[in-house]
Symmetry: C2
Subunit: 294 residues, 2 copies
DNA sequence: TATTGGTCATAGACACGGTCTATAGCTCCT
DNA sequence: AGGAGCTATAGACCGTGTCTATGACCAATA
């Protein structure tokens, strides 16, 4: 026995009470005065209580009307706030963008985009969630991030992946091993030098390990470090040969503090891509960000 | 550019979010599932934001949907409270009844009705506002009371008056003046005794003063008191002859502590009536109370 | 006291849109 | 593979909210 529909009437009631006039309420609501009059009458019938005193200069709330108004006023204010908030979300004046990925990708790949995005939409809070590729995928599936940025390839039917950029990993060394400049090394030759690898089970490390295995070699690092920054720093200081992403050391390569060591086999490039949940709506902020990156 | 109407959709949104299922929401709202589906879609178009993730086991709020829900939930809860409150007001489980009048009328005339009313509708708060007749009328016009109980006649085009009971005022004395029992006094004879009158500009006092004036006498009290109780008490203790409403001293007359002094002119009866504002809606509580009194 | 300009109420017609039924598409589970 | 959920879509219909036109009323003017 719902007899619902009252909600619309409450809005009319709210404005009528607020303006103290059905005519004025009609203007505020872009309706005609008879419509408002009719709506109020209907509401009064439904609640079974007279809500307004009518007189020649407008309307005034009855005792019971005042009680109703005290509730409805709050309710309508909340709705107005909600609508403002929604507009802000749509216009990207407010909201948040949650991205998952590795710190190195954030720092060396996403940073300029994040900066641009933040300048353009300062109201959007950025949440960067650090994690390995499988962690990022699970964050995505749990709805804890809006999009993930990881190394390809990813095969997951639930995910929608767009490959954005191709990165080339390579071995680099510092001045200490200047003798290797210009040479093309074989795997065996390279393994005679101390090798520095990323310590975590990252995509990059797995890829290079597999590449060596394919040729019958077991690549064991002499040093393992926990961040790309240390990988670079150790190589510069001559502690060994680091396996890094070329694009992440472009500055060092240019200034000469590091140089690339060429190998006689080709290291396959790795792709970095963004992934979102397939068949799930994507937030306006995430859409905008992906457009910027593309 | 209002594009209004959203209010109804918010209710659907609220239930859909609350139930986590459009089908369940439809049941709760006594609608069909397609209607709810359509409503949600429409709301999403209007706010320009996707609000739900749809999947095989129902729906779940998106990040933005959650934000909207946090507002709308409060709003809907307030509306529900408002509707409950209105039902309570209509059923007289709640609310208030504000009556204006003189203390003596409250005590001697209205008290039994007030008791009955309070027993029958314990949820209604009773506000008794004390004042002279003109004060009560202004309270009524200011909307500070729902109804007034005063002595008649009242002539005011803005008021609607119903006369409920007829009271007879009379002179009474105590044992000290036992010699007057059974006698019929003239005005002159009566004025030889000390007369006790109500001190305020009450209807009763004005009426008796005018009656004496009509016969060429000026009735000046030897004692003036401020309440009907004192009027009675002074007479009982033999301080003089009091002019009181007979119905208010019925107990004393019966037990013999007071007796009535008959006058050779008839004191016109006075009517007590209830008045409300003409052409103004009257609260359910006030209507009910007037019915009880009538 | 008649006039004017404001208020709200009523009547009746119209059209928009909310709701329905029927059906399809999808996912999960057995 | 089939069934049992769920939501989405299509199209028709009827209800109702809105409109215009008008009336009734009041208050403040002249």
């Amino acid at each position: 026995m719902s007899m619902t529909n009252n909600d619309e009437l409450y809005k009319v009631f709210y404005w009528a009470a607020k303006m103290g006039s059905l005519t004025q309420a009609a203007k505020a609501l872009y309706l005609t005065q008879p419509s408002v009059s009719h709506a109020i009458k209907q509401l009064e019938e439904r609640v079974g209580v007279t809500l307004f005193y009518r007189n020649a200069k407008g309307v005034a709330l009855t005792q019971e009307g005042k009680i109703l108004f005290s509730y409805i006023e709050q309710s309508q204010i909340l709705i107005n706030l909600a609508e403002e908030k929604m507009v802000a979300l749509k216009n990207l004046d407010s909201g948040e963008l949650r991205i998952g990925g590795s710190d190195s990708l954030f720092k060396h790949y996403l940073l300029p985009f994040l900066e641009d995005f933040h300048i353009q939409y300062p109201g959007i809070k950025l949440h960067l969630k650090h994690g390995t590729t499988p962690e990022v995928i699970s964050y995505l599936k749990d709805g804890r991030i809006d999009l993930g940025v990881v190394r390809m390839p990813i095969v997951d039917s639930l995910l929608e992946v767009t490959e954005n950029i191709q990165l080339q990993d390579c071995f680099v060394a510092g001045e200490r091993y200047a003798e290797l400049k210009g040479q093309v090394l074989s795997m065996e030759q390279l393994m005679e030098y101390p090798v520095i690898l990323f310590s975590r089970n990252s995509r990059v490390r797995m890829a290079i390990t597999e590449l060596f295995e394919k040729y019958g070699h077991e690549l064991k690092p002499d040093i393992e470090v926990g961040s790309v920054d240390l990988l670079i720093e150790f190589a510069r200081r001559g502690l060994g040969i680091s396996f890094v992403t070329r694009e992440f050391v472009s500055k060092e390569l240019k200034e000469g503090s590091l140089f690339e060591i060429e190998l006689d086999v080709e290291v396959p490039p790795s792709n970095v891509g963004m992934m979102i949940m397939r068949n799930m709506p994507i937030s306006t902020a995430a859409t905008k960000f992906m457009e910027m990156v593309r």
